[in-house]
Each structure stands twice: as structure tokens, then as C-alpha cells.
Symmetry: C2
């Protein structure tokens, strides 16, 4: 998309870039460049145009658009194909599934500024946030490994967003196994991984990620449970930058994961950020709750919990809930 | 739906049913009855109307409509909610997934007279048939068991369609494990089960079923592999009857399955129809092909195959293909 490429050029240039230079590098007409620049201005970019020198990017808006995300993505495949929505009445996961059903490639990203019908695990609602404050995104993956490995993708995504958050904000979230990130024991990110399978064959996986970035407050019922990067750091963050950094980190971790098809090379990294590691946890199992000590994740993505008797159990996400000693469930 | 109920009433009455009787039984107005009757006539039903006696069903068309299927369904939940399409440009599975995503209940059925974008396993094409000849249908299930059990639903569907075919035609198809039915070593039915999961939680399952009923021929490339009930029996069959019988059988087998959440009470039944039981099979495994003797399915839905060494292996659908000594792959 020309607009994304123009933005990318402007973004990565010091000083001015002449219209001619843009035409040459992108192989497009003057008119196309002019149209692209105007369209970017309409989206909120401040672009200075100076006779005989060219264009310069003065200010970048905090928008989740195809151009903004696309011009920041650095990886080979994650986010190379972006569909962005100002508002989506259902969820980015559902939209990603529609695209995947229609053949969208591995690495396609759906992002929304406002997601009205977001879902947490098991159909729980994921509250919508005001425009300009949060990230709702879903990444389409087409892995060739067996379905039993797919739940580990949630853990990779948690690691990736942790890195993205740290890179843009300096804050280092804890991971609440398996699928949330927290700051000061309040949720800043939730991950919902859905997979579409035939018997033992993965058609595709959609990793849905919601991040609280620039919210200044939450509704009453979430106040004890949720926080945002802004509320923790006292300043705003550029969401597309966080998206791009998280995608790059995801691509990195995915590559490591594929080598062994498990988390053996990442479990230490994960456990370093694991909330409640070494502390008491309550395991909510169908056959009855019990308490133990969290020993961190196993290479297969399960959580190892030591019973008072000394016996260590590998607890699977989905089968049980684990509650630690922090502020939200 | 009034039309379905009127049709059901006419269908299950001997002789004439008066308009007043229909109004009374269904609690609807004379006008509604009149409209329903007219609409049925437009769909091809021949309904005789005699002054002072009422209506009588003279002839029933071979249509896959909501009214026709709905008036024949006998079970508690399978097919209680039907959406029928004269033509669907994609597939009934995809449509069923849309409905399930929007909240359609357990047992909802999508049926199509012509399915243009049908899919077999792993994205293989499933050829469209001329109008009025085949069945394409997808059943939405919302089981509460764990995902690892879901592939067994394919085997239940195979049993169910086998029963449906036998009840309407007297023919008894063989089951090609795990997901096809065959007559004279040619395919008459294929089943594609798709499941939408979070980690260890089933959102829903769609069981897609295609049946060759009244085709008189197949395209060149399928001639050796496919047949229809008509081509085997020399006469046409009423497709909605086959749908309804298959759904009733599915509901029956599903109930048995739920008791143990495995096939322990159905494996004998399944093996009785299993193509190639006791004969040589070739197992196409990722690590290399091998040959053995088919011993029938295990209670978990896997196929037991004895190697020449005497060792018995449980072979999972999806991981391997199995070829027997019959006409299609």
C-alpha cells in the first residue's frame, strides 16, 4: 500500500524527502505521492512541505491504522498484512477468523481502535474502551504442528507483549499464567487464543490480544482489577509502536518455539516474569480446589504446582484456574 | 414456524385436515393457515383442498427446505432449528460457524441443496452436485467435554448416516474410517468435523456431512471413486427423509456417547460396518508408511492396526491415512 510506504519512508528519513525521491523509491507517480501525503494529513499526521526540499514528518498521531502499524512493523511476517478498524462492532478475533476462512495468510493482523464485542476466555465479556485508549488486535497463525501444541501460543504472546510494553514504557509487567499481564497486580493485557481444527489438523489459530494503554480510568466494577500503562507511568504511549514491538517479539519467540515445538528454550524467560512464582496458589479444579506452591511453567506450557505433600502436579490451562495472591482473578 | 407446523400436521394426518383444525392446533389465524398452504404449494407440494373437508397432502417434493426437514425431524434437539439454502456459494460448515459465532444453539442444522464451496479434510475440494441430487448439511454441537474427545463425533456421524441410508434405501454402506461411507467401494458420504477451541475448552463443533443421493453420474475424475444411492439402488430417494433419519440416529448415538464420553458402547456397532476389517491396510504415517491388519476401532476412536511383528498400534485420524483394499483413497 503506497500510503504505508510513504509513511515508512518519511519516518525513516532524517530531514526532508523530496517528492521525486519518493516517486523513485516506490516506483509510483507524483500524483500517487501527493494523494498519499494528503490522505496521511487527513489521518492526523503533520507533514511539512517545503518548496525544493520536500516533505518532513512533524508529528505522528496515536492511531491504529494500516499505515501507522504497517510502517512500524519490522518482522518478516507478523503484521506484514494489516486490516485496521476505527471501530468493530464484534471482535477482532471474529474478524480475523472471517479473514482466515477466506484465505488470509499467516501473520495477518486485525486491529481495532474500539472493539465493542470483545470476548475473554469462555465467552466472558471484555469491556470496550474509549477511542484512542486501548489496543485490540488479533494475529492469524497457520502453524503446521499438532493441535496439542497450540495452547502454548498464548504463552508466547504473553512474553511478546511483555517485551513490547517494556520497550515502549520501561514498565515490566508480570505474567499471570497463562494469558494475562499485570502491573501492580492489576490487569493490563488479556490474551484469547482460538483455534480452528479438524480432528488432528490445525486449520488456523487466532491469537487475540487486548492491551490497556492510555485509559485514565475504568468503570467502577473494573477499578480494582484493571489498570493501564498510562495510569501506571503517568504518561501516554504510542499504541502502534507497542503493537509493532509486540509483533516483532512474537515473531522472535515463535521462531525459537518452532525449533523444539515446546517452551524448553523459553520457560526460564517466562518464569522470570511469572506472577506468584514460588508463592502459594489455589488451583480451581473440576474435582475440587486445592492449594500448593507455584513452581513455574513446564516446557509444555502447563504450570507446575507442588502440593503440601511434596507431590508436583502439572496443571493445564483450561482445565483449571489458578489464583495467586494478587488483585484480580 | 407456522409453515413447518402446517406441513407436519398434514403429513401426520390420514385423510383431510380442516382449516379450523389447523387453526386450533397451531393457535394461528385462518389467514396464516391460508398463507402457509399457499407458500407450501409454491415450494412444490401438491395440496388438495376440498370444501367442508379441508386439506390433504397429495404429493411431497424432494426439497431441502426448512419446512420439509423441520416437519420430518423427530428428535429432541438435532435439527430442531434449521436454516436451509437452495444454494450456498461457500459451504454449510462455514455458514454453521457464522451462526454458532452469533449464538445458534446446540443442534442447529444448516442444509443446502447446492453447495458451491464445499471442503473436504485439510482444505480439499468437495465437488458441487446439480440441484436436487445431494445433501450438504452441517450440525452445530456445543458439547461440554474436553477437546480431545471431539474427533469421535465424526465417527458418531458416520454411524448415524449409515443408519439413515439403510432406513430409507435398504442399502447398508460400509464405513471407511474415520469419516467416509462407501457402497461397492465407492464414496457416498464424506464427513468433515471442525471444532473451534480455546486452550482446553470447546466453543463449539460443526459436523459437516455431504451425501450423494440422486446423482445419475459423476464427472470423469470422480467416476471411479464416487457413487450415489440412486446409482446403486436404481431409484431416487427423498433427501429430507434421509436427513431426518440421520439426525435422529445421531441424537441417539450422541446420547450413548455422552454416558461414557467414549465409544466403548458403540465400537462393536461401528466395527460391524467398518470397511476392510480384518484385512490388510496401509498406514500412511509422517515417519514412513507401513502395512498391517485392521483390527477395528478402539473405544477412543483410533484404529487398531496389527503390524506383521504382531505388535498392535492405535492409529489416530489426522496423523495418518489408512488405505484399504477398496476403490477410493
Amino acid at each position: 500500500m503506497t500510503k504505508t510506504e510513504i509513511l515508512s519512508l518519511l519516518r525513516h528519513s532524517r530531514g526532508y524527502v523530496s517528492g521525486q525521491e519518493i516517486c523513485g523509491q516506490l516506483g509510483v507517480s507524483r500524483t500517487a505521492v501527493w494523494k498519499g501525503i494528503n490522505s496521511l494529513k487527513e489521518e492526523g499526521y503533520q507533514i511539512e512541505a517545503v518548496q525544493n526540499r520536500g516533505y518532513r514528518l512533524e508529528e505522528i498521531p496515536d492511531v491504529l491504522t494500516e499505515a501507522e502499524i504497517g510502517s512500524l512493523v519490522t518482522g518478516e511476517w507478523a503484521g506484514r498484512n494489516v486490516e485496521a478498524h476505527p471501530r468493530i462492532t464484534y471482535s477482532t478475533n471474529l474478524r480475523a477468523r472471517q479473514l482466515a476462512d477466506a484465505g488470509a495468510p499467516h501473520g495477518t493482523l486485525v486491529a481495532a481502535d474500539v472493539q465493542e464485542g470483545g470476548k475473554g476466555r469462555r465467552g466472558r465479556a471484555w469491556a470496550a474502551s474509549p477511542p484512542g485508549t486501548s489496543i485490540a488486535m488479533s494475529l492469524i497463525l497457520r502453524p503446521r504442528f499438532t493441535p496439542v501444541k497450540a495452547p502454548m501460543l498464548t504463552l508466547l504472546a504473553a512474553l511478546a507483549v511483555r517485551d513490547g510494553v517494556e520497550q515502549v514504557s520501561g514498565l515490566r509487567p508480570a505474567i499471570k499464567w497463562p494469558n494475562d499481564l499485570a502491573l501492580n497486580r492489576k490487569k493490563i493485557c488479556g490474551i484469547l487464543t482460538e483455534m480452528i481444527l479438524e480432528a488432528e489438523y490445525i486449520q488456523y489459530v487466532v491469537v487475540g490480544i487486548g492491551v490497556n494503554v492510555n485509559q485514565t480510568e475504568f468503570p467502577e466494577e473494573l477499578r480494582e482489577k484493571a489498570t493501564s500503562l498510562r495510569m501506571e507511568a503517568g504518561r501516554n504511549f504510542h499504541r502502534a509502536e507497542l503493537v509493532a514491538r509486540s509483533l516483532a517479539a512474537f515473531e522472535h519467540y515463535y521462531g525459537i518455539f518452532l525449533k523444539t515445538e515446546d517452551l524448553s528454550e523459553l520457560q526460564e524467560e517466562y518464569n522470570r516474569s511469572l506472577a506468584g512464582l514460588g508463592g502459594p496458589v489455589r488451583v480451581l479444579a473440576p474435582g475440587g480446589d486445592w492449594e500448593g506452591t507455584s513452581l513455574g511453567i513446564h516446557a509444555d506450557g502447563s504450570l507446575l504446582v507442588r502440593r503440601p505433600s511434596g507431590q508436583v502436579e502439572a496443571v493445564d490451562a483450561g482445565e483449571v484456574s489458578v489464583r495467586g495472591l494478587y488483585g484480580y482473578v
